[in-house]
Symmetry: C2
Subunit: 146 residues, 2 copies
Amino acid sequence: MVEINHQIGIKGTPSQVYHALTTNDGLAQWWTNDVSGAGVVDSVIEFRFNGSGPDFLVTELIPDKIVRWQHHGNMPEAWIGTEVLFQLQQDGDQVFIRFTHSNWEQASDFMAHCNTKWAVFLLSLKAAIETGKGSPFPDDIQIDHS
Amino acid sequence: MVEINHQIGIKGTPSQVYHALTTNDGLAQWWTNDVSGAGVVDSVIEFRFNGSGPDFLVTELIPDKIVRWQHHGNMPEAWIGTEVLFQLQQDGDQVFIRFTHSNWEQASDFMAHCNTKWAVFLLSLKAAIETGKGSPFPDDIQIDHS
């Protein structure tokens, strides 16, 4: 199994970051503007990009510290069985997010694409909290011309 | 062993991308403005960030297709034994770079940081070729406040 790991430091409070990861309006500030279903453990969050996109089951929440999702449904196919984990750690006036998207079957080109794109969206999350303006889909930075 | 994988598509020609990966002036457009030593196989490229930084031995070059480096020296320590590979593939009017930084001993926080930062520098490379202006160090996008 292969996994994606990122780390980013955001000037803000753990509760600001946690809000951005656990609420529809928070998630809509940085990943895609079309989010529904965010909530407590066992919620299914529906992220949509022009009408289609992945669902995630919320499997663990520790306020201001841990957000864990299990991929749900069958889209995209390569994400089936994968898990996303955000671990938050305060360090002075910033919060480090340690991000892991694990259980990929292989280091495919699509996995490499998603890795680069996760960096783009984590930078969007950082900007959303630090400046009030992220770049969620459809305003996300494009990493290719496909 | 753990590895970092990215994929990015750049509107340009394979020879433009290859130039940006194999010459001092090309590399200085996107990674750090202080680069020396780039050249044929067995060259040692010295990348410097405020005076310190990694060296890489050029181990394979296939014009417009493959650039492979072996980490050289002892800095940063976690990079010892690692290898960087750029694979170029033309697809219509864009060139896909499939990037791999392999042979990491573990998925440390530093590895996660480097993964996010590689995305930033690959976006800088994309911008350098597409717009003529990348964001090499010291103008690189900061991913934390450390």
